[in-house]
Amino acid sequence: MRERLSFYVKRESFLHHLNPLTKLTLAFGLVFAAFLSPWYWTPSFFVLFAIIPLSFIGKVQREYFGAALRLILPAAGFLFLMQSFFQPIGVKVIFKFWFLDITQESLMFAFTNASRIFVMVSSFTLFLLTTHPSELMSDLTRRGLPSQFAYVIISTIQIIPQMQAKAQTIIAAQRSRGLDTQGSFFNRIGALVPLVGPLVFGSLVEVEERAIAIEARGFTSTSIKTSLREIPDTRFDKMFRWFLILLVIAVIAARIWLS
């Protein structure tokens, strides 16, 4: 079975070739700016003029829109509904529903929050789609990140696709021994029960094996390590990172100024 180790989609694009740290700064920059900005329209502005164009620049628009429509938008929509109903702020009632009042303030509040969450999940989705985890980690360790820390991050990024692949093989094994995993709702739920044990147990075994494997290759060695892969860091990368940092600072300044 071919395992997909991360969300990474291999393509040739400008975004793919940016330095991983630049992309990480971009993701965090958009998130910080969206959350700290004093204006309610900033997150939507980012979606329209940064995130969507970036998904096309990175040639991952199909994957991004797939995730956005099926996952991110429904989650943000849910948040929007809950907050506009249950936020007891404001006085300008727009309409009433049973005992719930919807005010203009609560709508605004909910919209800002939901779009912030949308920006956050979207920018990290884009980041993961265009950045190979090991490239990110070799770049960050080269910049002085402790390799233990890098290991923790990288295995976290990888765990979901790995668990998925593992679950698929176990399901295949159980189906070929007559377990009915299709059909009624109860069949499906019932089929999950024998899956949990081996999935968790198997993953633990795997963690131990991996720890032994990387130790055997000198993981905790303290001597300076060289890297097989050169990850380019261009002048443009550096300038772009400064621009993003300045953007966040400007947003913070605007917030202080306006309050």
Partner: protein, 267 residues
């Protein structure tokens, strides 16, 4: 009695690898078939179609008249038992006994029948003393036996072994040969994928050689193993005795010591 009919089967993996390119085969009930061919020639992909784990991209697979496109895997499991290439992908229970009972239990047999089937399968694989052990505490050799037992206990008409002898010592290979002989006696259809050409020559009447997703050769073991040049296309070497027989210009193709000696005497 269940027949396997494969009609112009093509399969392309989601990633775009074209693993099978037009395979047509019929396997009669009770036949013992070995499948050989180089790594990546499509053997595993082909047998995964027999119990519906994979669905044809085009063409069809009929198991005793059931189209695998329409029958659920869980239902096909009553007819086709498939022992995975890698036992670690197959085992998930916490004891050998539970593992072996999982299949027959799912097939809806009563408790009494399940325990009889489990007992029989454990005896056949010489696992009777390890019923309460966790499969993960066993060596790879014995885990493979557990994988075999967990399929044999389902008592299906068709049994598929994917590389059962890989990494096994002589004793264990003999045990597997013994299991196959017993299944033959019970009238089961056995399909075995193997890279062990001696094992293939000694235990199977029919041999199918695959190469790049197509059937390269299909016939009796003697016919197929005699085609040294064609087999070379899929990196299969006939057994040494067969090749020696050819060098000695023996009339028939031989595949074991008895045939070799008999042919030598005739000459």
């Amino acid at each position: 009695m269940i027949k396997i009919e494969i009609q112009d089967l093509h399969y392309t993996y989601p990633g775009g690898v074209e693993a099978l390119r037009g395979i047509s085969l019929t396997i009669k009930p009770g036949e013992q078939v070995a499948m050989v061919g180089q790594n990546g020639s499509g053997k595993t992909t082909l047998v995964k179609h027999l119990n519906g784990l994979l669905q044809p991209t085009s063409g069809s697979v009929l198991i005793g008249g059931w189209d695998t496109k329409k029958a659920a895997v869980a239902k096909l499991a009553a007819r086709v038992g498939y022992v995975f290439q890698n036992p670690d992908e197959q085992l998930f229970s916490s004891t050998v006994g539970m593992e072996v009972a999982f299949g027959p239990h799912n097939l809806g047999y009563g408790d009494e029948k399940v325990s009889a089937l489990v007992k029989d399968a454990l005896a056949l694989t010489e696992l009777s003393d390890k019923t309460a052990t966790n499969p993960y505490d066993l060596s790879a050799t014995w885990r493979k036996m557990v994988a075999l037992a967990s399929i044999i206990s389902m008592d299906t008409e068709i049994v598929i072994f994917d590389e059962p002898t890989t990494g096994q010592d002589a004793l264990s290979v003999a045990r597997i040969a013994n299991i196959i002989a017993e299944l033959r006696k019970r009238g089961k259809t056995v399909i075995t994928i193997t890279h062990d050409i001696d094992f293939c020559a000694e235990n199977f009447e029919r041999v199918i050689a695959l190469s790049q997703g197509q059937v390269l050769l299909d016939g009796t073991a003697n016919e197929v193993l005699g085609q040294e040049n064609i087999l070379a296309q899929t990196y299969v070497d006939p057994p040494q005795l067969t090749r020696l027989g050819k060098r000695l210009r023996l009339k028939e193709t031989v595949r074991n010591q008895e045939e070799f000696l008999a042919a030598l005497k005739k000459k």
